[in-house]
Amino acid sequence: MFERIIEEAPRFFTYYNLMFVLGAMWRTLLMTLVGCSIGFTVGLGLAVLRRTSAAWLRPARYAAILYVETFRRIPFLVVLFIVLYFIQPIYSGASLLAIATVAVCLMSTAFLSEIIRAGLESVPRQQMESAEVLNFHPGQTLAWVILPQAWKVILPPAVAFVVMFVKDTSLASQLGVVELTYAGKILVNKGFSPLLGFGAILAAYFILSYPLSRLGAHLETRLGTSRNT
């Protein structure tokens, strides 16, 4: 087996294959980061919405709960297909990558919203009362008091979620998005040994997710000790 790898190696480690794997890596990273960034923003919005108490926002609160509870219970692959069959008739020009990214947004919004909500709830209610009697607006309380204290609770699970999602985007290969997993299949189909093909993919996943985990750990220690003044 090793002879085969040694024999294939010169043909495998070519500029073309390198660019091919890098391209796939880029698409994996793009889906994850763009999807999760939007998911984080919208998730923050939903989490804040769920904390409001105004009567006129009640329908919106229920809609947010329904959304979060639904999407947390659907497999990612199903979300991918739903988005595919929903978007294609409306806009046939949509790229598969864009469709997969939308699916990541939908999914990560639901999960990140729950993570953020738990973080916001970890801040004692008395902190809000203090802000309220000093005439802070709800938005000011959120920005200056709640979020700065909630970050250190939100960040570790949020980063863990994103790192996990780097791997989950492999399901987008089922749609035909040439991300890392699909790239591995293509390499093997081209006749390269699976050990070499998927070995390269394994290394690529590691290169993507390890720095993300380190970044998370770094932010965690930084947020744990420093504060904003």
Partner: protein, 245 residues
């Protein structure tokens, strides 16, 4: 007309009526202490006055102007004039001491930075925290945190200060450092409503004492009357119990 007029105030948590018709009139510059058994509604009365647990019924007048607790504008106006210090200090954990004291005047009231910092420095000196401007709340003792909380409440120059059991969470040896600060404040002529279990302190600083029981004020009078010659049976029972030891 008093500085603060409370009439027929009702307040409830869910189905529980905590305040059942509270009437109390407080004159400008008075120090009124609320005493009474736990659960009698003393803290709820303070929280209700500042709108954290809005009253269900009744009226509160500040300088003859009725407060509408359902109107944001009216609440803001009230909180410009009234400040509260909590039992658990509740300093902003993400801000240092100086920021805790200056954030509201700077960011909410948009006052001049130089003036705000000068006032904050004076206030922190006054409460004895002048050397800890950069410290964060979790680096301070309970007594120090509570003194910062008092400085924060005073930073907006309120006319009325509510003190909600401000020494109850402190170690016994820390109680006096906070009481000294409050004693000092009573000389400023700021109107104060104090909920406290420190009876000798209450006796010393109060112009009047209000005895509360089961959600209403049962007797109001000068400390000598309440502690030495109470008129109401419930006051007699309560004072008898706490002064026995």
């Amino acid at each position: 007309m008093g500085h603060l007029e409370i009439r027929n105030l009702h307040c409830s948590y869910g189905a529980d009526d905590i305040l059942k018709s509270v009437d109390l009139s407080v004159d400008r510059g008075e120090v009124v202490s609320l005493i009474g058994p736990s659960g009698s509604g003393k803290s709820t009365l303070l929280r209700s006055l500042i709108g954290l647990t809005p009253p269900r019924m009744g009226t509160v007048e500040l300088d003859g102007e009725e407060i509408n607790y359902r109107n944001r504008q009216s609440l803001r106006h009230l909180r410009d004039k009234m400040a509260i210090v909590f039992q658990q200090y509740n300093l902003f954990q993400n801000m240092n001491v100086f920021r805790n004291v200056t954030v509201a005047p700077l960011k909410i009231k948009k006052r001049d930075k130089g003036a705000v910092e000068k006032t904050a420095t004076e206030l922190l000196d006054r409460v004895g925290i002048g050397d800890k401007h950069q410290a964060y709340p979790d680096e301070l003792s309970g007594g120090q945190q509570q003194r910062v909380a008092i400085a924060r409440a005073l930073a907006l120059a309120p006319e009325i200060l509510l003190l909600d059991e401000v020494t109850s969470a402190l170690d016994p040896e820390r109680v006096n450092e906070v009481l000294d600060v409050i004693r000092d404040l009573t000389r400023d002529g700021i109107t104060m409503l104090i909920v406290s279990h420190e009876m000798s302190f209450v006796k010393e600083v109060s112009t009047r004492v209000a005895m509360m029981d089961a959600g209403s004020v049962v007797e109001v009078g000068p400390p000598e009357q309440i502690f030495d010659a109470p008129k109401e049976q419930r006051t007699r029972d309560f004072v008898g119990k706490i002064l026995r030891h």
